[in-house]
Amino acid sequence: MLRFILMRLGKAAVILIAIMTLNFFLIHAAPGDPAAVMAGEAGAADAKFIAQLREQFGLDKPLLTQLGIYLKGVLQFDLGFSYRQQMPVAQLILDRLPATLLLTMTAFVISLVLGTFAGVLASARVGKWSDTAISSLALLFYATPLYWAALMAVLVFSVYFNWLPGFGYETVGANHTGLARLLDIGRHLILPATTLGLFFMAVYMRMTRASMLEVSQLDFVKTARAKGLKRSIIQRRHIFRNAMLPVVTLAGLQAGQLVGGAVLTETVFAWPGIGRLMFEALAQRDYNLLLGVFFVSAAMVLLFNLITDILYRFVDPRIRVA
C-alpha cells in the first residue's frame, strides 16, 4: 500500500508541474497584461509608468525566463507576489481558504447525503409517484443554471420573505462573538451552500438510483433473496455497498473542486472565497495569483483522486487484490 501511495505521489508531482507549465502559457496567451490593467484603473498613465510596472513585476523578461523563475519558486513552496493586491499569493489564498472550505464542504455534504438518500428512496419505489417526483426534481436541479437559481433564491428567501441574509459571510458590523457568531455565519451559509449543492445533489441522486437498480438485478442479489434474507439487509449490505462505487468516484471528483471555490456562487452571494479571488485575478491578469489558485486546485484534484483510489480498495476488495 505504501509503495502504491508513493508511486502515485511521484506521478502527481510530475503531472502538477506539467499542469502549471500549461497554465502559464495559457494565461500569457490571453491578450492584455497586469501592468496595463493597473494603469487603466488609475485612469491616467504614460508609457513610462507602464514600463516601470512591467519591470517591477518582471514582465519585461523573456517568457521562458519568467516560467523558470515561477517554477523555481513553486518548488520552494513560494507562490510569488500578487501585483495588484500587494500581498504574497500564498497568504491571499490562505486568507480565503476557510470561507471557501466552509461553503464548498457544506454544499458537498448536503448534496452527497441528500442526493444519495433520495436516490436510494427512489430506487426502492421505482415507478411509483414518489420516484417520479424525486426524479423530476433531480432533473430540474440538474438543468437549472446556478446563477439563476442563486438569484431566485435571494429574491424569494431574502427580498420577498426576508428569512435569510442574501449575501456576505456574516452580518458586517454586528460584532457577534462566540455562539451568536456561529449562528450568524450559519444563517448566511444556508442559501449559497444549498444552491451550490443543487447540481451535485441531482447527479448523486440519479447516479445512486441507477446504480442501485442495476446492482439489484445481479445474480448475487437474487441468491441473497433466495436465501430468505430480509429485504432491508439486502438493500443495505448487498445492493447499497456495491452501488456506491460510482458515487464514490463522483464524490472524489467533486471533492477535488472544493478548494477551487465556486466562482458564480461566491460572486452572487458576495462570499469572500477563493473562487472570487480567482475571477478577479483573471480580470486583472494578476498572473501570479491566478497561477497560485490553479496550483492549489490542481494539487487538490490530484490529492482527491489518490484518496478516491485508496477508498476504492476499501469499498471493493476486488480492486485491492488486483
Binding site: 492584455g32 484603473e41 488609475a42 485612469g43 508609457a47 509608468f49 493586491q85 442574501g166 449575501f167 479571488l277
Partner: protein, 515 residues
C-alpha cells in the same frame, strides 16, 4: 418613458430639499465596487480607492459644484499678480491619525518628493512648478515657471493627497508596511479591512473642524455582483449606492423605493465625458466626412433616455459642460440620418466593415454599443461588434487595433488637465488609453491648447478654448456621446452626503443621519 423620467426627476428634486441641524452619531453602510487594491491614495488613485480613502486623506483645498476652491487643510491662499506665486496658509492645529502634527513640511514632502515619484497625473501638472518651499510651519509657497491656468484646481484629495513625511521619508514607498494601515489627516480613520468582505472607517475624534464628522463609523461593503448590490439596498443592508454601483436598468426600480433619494451631483470635478474613439489613421474613419456622418447617424437623446434613465446630457463637444471654459457655440450634430447618408455618399463609402469595441464595464455599455450599431446600420455603415474583457480592451486601444471604441474619461475641471491630452499631437504614443488614441494631428489645435494652458487671464483662456472647441467639433476627431450622469442613491435620512464637486469621494465629512 415620460412617466419614468418624471418620477426620477421628482426624486431628484426631493433630494435637494432643505433640512435641519446635523445630528451626531450613527453608522453609514456604503457599497464599494470593485474592491480597491489598496487604500494608500498616494500610490493608487483609481475610483474605488478614492471613494474610500478620500475620507482618510485630504488635500489643501476642496471644490464646490461650480469648481470654486474652498478651504480644507489650507485656510486661505493668495495668488500673485503675475500668476507665478501661490501662497497657502495652513490650519495650525491639524494632527495626523497617529497623533503627530501636520505641518508645511508634510506638504513640501508630499508634492515635491512623494507624489512626483508616484502620481503620473499630478507629475504632468508639477512640470509647471519651479519650487515648493515652506517659509514657516503653516505656510507653503508654490513658485511656477510660467503661469498655469488650472493650477488652483489640482489641490483635490485624489490629485494631491497629503502624505505623512514622518512615515514615508527615506523609505521604499511601494513596500512600506504602513500602506496597509493608511494614516491621513481626514475626518475618518482606517480601522479594519476584511478582504473580500468590508472596510471599516471610524470617526477621527481629533479632527480639526469643530463637531465634525458627525458619523461614528462607515462600513464599505464589497459586493461583486451588480444585482446583489441592488438587493443589498433593497434589504436594508446598505444605505448608500454610489454612482455606478448598480446597472442603469435597476436605477428606476430602486429609486422608486420608499425613503430613497437620488442625485446626479458630485461629479462636476470629474466631468465624465463619453465618446467613441475613431481611428483617424486608416480605414473609413480616417475620412472627416465619415466621422461627421457617425455624429449625425447617432440618436444620442435615445441613448440618454433609454439607457441612462434620462440622466446626463448630450455632449456638445470635447469639453464637458461642468468643466471650465466650456462653450455651446459649436456646430450641432442632431440625429439626422439623411445628412449622414449624404456625407457617406459624397465620400464614396462602399460598406467597408468597421470594428466597434464596446466598453467592457457591464450591461449598459454593451446595450449602448448595440444601439449605436443599429443607428449606424440604418445609414449603411457596416459595423462589427468586437467583444473583449477589460484587459483585452486596454491592449487593443493601447496598440491602436480598432476602428471605433467606446470610452469615457474624467476632465478634472479644466481643459488643460483633462481635455488637451486627448487631442494634441505631442500626446500620440502607443501604450496608453488616455492620450491621443485616435491619432488626430492638427497644428492649430496644438497651438491653441498650448497657449490656453499658460494664458494669464480667464478671458484670454476662454477665447482660446472656444476656438479650439469649435475647430474640434468641426473635425470630429472622436464621436462625442454623453456627459454621463451617475446617480448616487441613498436613504433620504442620510443628509449632506453630496456637497462638493467630488461627491461621495469626500462626502462623509459633512454627512449625518437624521433620526
Amino acid at each position: 418613458m415620460l412617466k419614468r423620467l418624471t418620477t426620477l426627476a421628482a426624486t431628484l428634486l426631493v433630494s435637494t430639499a432643505l433640512h435641519a441641524e446635523p445630528v451626531a452619531g450613527g453608522r453609514a453602510n456604503v457599497v464599494i465596487q470593485p474592491e480597491p487594491p489598496s487604500l494608500m491614495m498616494g500610490l493608487v488613485q483609481n475610483g474605488p480607492t478614492q471613494m474610500v480613502a478620500g475620507n482618510i486623506y485630504e488635500s489643501l483645498l476642496r471644490y464646490d459644484e461650480k469648481l470654486q476652491p474652498m478651504p480644507q487643510l489650507a485656510t486661505s491662499w493668495d495668488v500673485s499678480e503675475d500668476g507665478l506665486t501661490y501662497t497657502f496658509h495652513l490650519h495650525d492645529d491639524v494632527k495626523w491619525h497617529d497623533g503627530k502634527p501636520f505641518t508645511s513640511a508634510d506638504v513640501v514632502f508630499s508634492a515635491d518628493v512623494f507624489l512626483r515619484e508616484t502620481h503620473t497625473r499630478l507629475r504632468a501638472s508639477l512640470e509647471h512648478v519651479e519650487s515648493i518651499t515652506a517659509p514657516d510651519d503653516t505656510t507653503v509657497v508654490f513658485k511656477l515657471k510660467q503661469p498655469f491656468g488650472p493650477f488652483l484646481g489640482i489641490f483635490e484629495a485624489g490629485t494631491m493627497p497629503m502624505i505623512p513625511k514622518h512615515i514615508y521619508e527615506g523609505t521604499d514607498y511601494k513596500n512600506n508596511p504602513a500602506n496597509n494601515t493608511p494614516i491621513g489627516t481626514g475626518p475618518f480613520k482606517f480601522k479594519e479591512w476584511v478582504k473580500g468582505s468590508h472596510i471599516l472607517l471610524t470617526r477621527n475624534e481629533e479632527y480639526y473642524e469643530e463637531g465634525k464628522p458627525y458619523l461614528d463609523e462607515i462600513y464599505w461593503h464589497v459586493i461583486p455582483d451588480a444585482a446583489s448590490r441592488a438587493v443589498a439596498y433593497e434589504t436594508g443592508v446598505v444605505d448608500v449606492l454610489p454612482g455606478g454601483s448598480i446597472e442603469n436598468f435597476d436605477v428606476q426600480r430602486i429609486a422608486d423605493m420608499e425613503n430613497t433619494c437620488v442625485t446626479d451631483k458630485g461629479w462636476e470635478y470629474f466631468g465624465p465625458l463619453s465618446w467613441m474613439w475613431l481611428n483617424n489613421r486608416e480605414g473609413p474613419t480616417a475620412d472627416k466626412r465619415f466621422r461627421q456622418a457617425v455624429m449625425y447617424a447617432m440618436d444620442r437623446d435615445f441613448a440618454r433616455d433609454a439607457l441612462w434613465n434620462g440622466l446626463g446630457k448630450v455632449a456638445a463637444g470635447p469639453v464637458s459642460s461642468s468643466t471650465r471654459f466650456f462653450t455651446e457655440e459649436v456646430t450641432k450634430y442632431d440625429h439626422d440620418p439623411e445628412k449622414a447618408k449624404a456625407l457617406l455618399a459624397e465620400m464614396g463609402y462602399k460598406g467597408e466593415p468597421v470594428r466597434l469595441l464596446p466598453l467592457p464595464y457591464g450591461e449598459t455599455w454593451q446595450r449602448w454599443a448595440e444601439a449605436v450599431k443599429q443607428n449606424l446600420d440604418e445609414v449603411g455603415i457596416n459595423v462589427e461588434l468586437v467583444s473583449t474583457d477589460v484587459a483585452g480592451w486596454n491592449q487593443k486601444l493601447a496598440e491602436w487595433d480598432y476602428d471605433m471604441a467606446f470610452t469615457y474619461l474624467y476632465q478634472y475641471g479644466d481643459p488643460a488637465l483633462g481635455v488637451a491630452r486627448n487631442y494634441v499631437s505631442t500626446n500620440i504614443a502607443k501604450g496608453s488609453q488616455w492620450n491621443n488614441v485616435e491619432g488626430y494631428e492638427n497644428k492649430e489645435i496644438d497651438d491653441l491648447f498650448a497657449k490656453a494652458a499658460v494664458a494669464v487671464t480667464a478671458e484670454e483662456r476662454q477665447k482660446l478654448y472656444t476656438e479650439a472647441q469649435q475647430k474640434l467639433v468641426d473635425d470630429v476627431p472622436v464621436a462625442w456621446l454623453l456627459e454621463l450622469g451617475f446617480p448616487t442613491i441613498y436613504r433620504c435620512n442620510v443628509k449632506d452626503l453630496v456637497t462638493t464637486a467630488i461627491g461621495v469621494n469626500d462626502g462623509f465629512k459633512d454627512a449625518y443621519i437624521e433620526k
